[in-house]
Symmetry: C2
Subunit: 284 residues, 2 copies
Amino acid sequence: MAKWFTEAWSAGVRFSVKYARKEYAERTPHQKIAFYESDELGRFFTLDGVMMACEKDEYVYHEMMIHVPMSVRPDICRVLVIGGGDGGSVRELLRYPQIAAITLVEIDERVVTLCERYFPQTSRGLRDARVSLVYADGAAFVANAVDAYDLIVVDSTDPIGPGEGLFSAAFYRDCHRILASDGILVNQHESPYFAATRREMIRAHEKIASLFPVARVYQAFIPTYPSGHWLFGFASKRLDPVADFRAGVQDAADIRTRYYNGEVHRAAFALPNDVREALAPKSK
Amino acid sequence: MAKWFTEAWSAGVRFSVKYARKEYAERTPHQKIAFYESDELGRFFTLDGVMMACEKDEYVYHEMMIHVPMSVRPDICRVLVIGGGDGGSVRELLRYPQIAAITLVEIDERVVTLCERYFPQTSRGLRDARVSLVYADGAAFVANAVDAYDLIVVDSTDPIGPGEGLFSAAFYRDCHRILASDGILVNQHESPYFAATRREMIRAHEKIASLFPVARVYQAFIPTYPSGHWLFGFASKRLDPVADFRAGVQDAADIRTRYYNGEVHRAAFALPNDVREALAPKSK
């Protein structure tokens, strides 16, 4: 009999994927993790029953998280990744020779260890000499950090469970403090479609926009995330993601992308009216 | 007990919507039609078990189908809509005072009649004096048509069942013949994500590109269609949808849109690399 993994995208909408077998599952000290093998999406893994990444489309999320900021400030050298224990964001960062040091702060060491075993597509760069792995709570890490980073990537789960602190005002304030003056903060920013994720989208944006002179939201087609309309935040003290976009950064490093390109970069910031309005500053 | 409508997006992926009640269902001479009431998506209707439109997001599809061509050639006057019996495309067209005549060719009269009863959100304009309703097969209609249209809107179902002829080379040739020299053909163009719809996307594009000097594909976020990454085709004998885009056409007619805007127009044509490559002319 066919086995189906089902995720509740909202109270009234479900997304189901037929799988051939559950490859591995474990309850870590932080969450439940499971790896599945499917015909349609290839290998995929879940945290607390929520799809994190699948072979078929994880490249969209990771390319859009990394190549957007790298195309705005190509000389990024020191990077902090919060979350992202699957290694997908690190993999994209490692394609740039100018990046000298990546610190990955993942709360759950088991995510790293198990993705290295069961999800090599994203995790293969995690032992690169330029990568420092830190197993700690991201919010606590940035609260105590004193280094200056050129790029902070908040590659978090949803703001429920372990990811919650990565959506707090205190966390964004700490990111602001440890970001270099030309630094960029990117974060996974939920979806505008369903009521719950839309609320989180608005809350995250309000907090970030109250701290950063530049706070923009951009989007990508990610069919395995709720609604398929997924958002990212881009915040900085000075650089604008569209006005300061530099074409050809990937070409210079001979980086081939499957989703990202210069037109997609600009287009990602063209939000539909109803998203624009939801994110517009509220008049008092 | 909760009732769920489930659609197979592919052999291995399903999309399910919880509904409060099935409002009405009927087997017409052409297909099965059903109307559901749900908390999450509002009222929605299906043809042969495939979601056609829901109250929550039908505006995305219909705005993108109509406001894109109207922003490239604002003086469009005579329009032919093939399919689209729910009336959503007609509703958007009627917002332009310059449009004098809309012919809607729907194969299934019951779709029109039942949408007027159960789906007023899209169908309310169908009895407007500018609209002529023709109940006929769209492919046969264009084969015999001699009039010249400024805009042809192919608002079809998938290329299985009644919609099949609306993806044939003969159909596109007839559209080309009855299109005015500055005319535009737009069509629903499937999705690049799942193998089956991707194949149809490529086939439709190859046929259209072999006939029309300008053949472009554009995209929108439509969460209730398979993958949420949905495509439209834009074809013409001369006009380019980006180079010939005119800003502010909707403002001039005081048309407010929920999804479409000028930035979204341009962005819609910025395709990800893997879609670009799938649609690129094959070298022999």
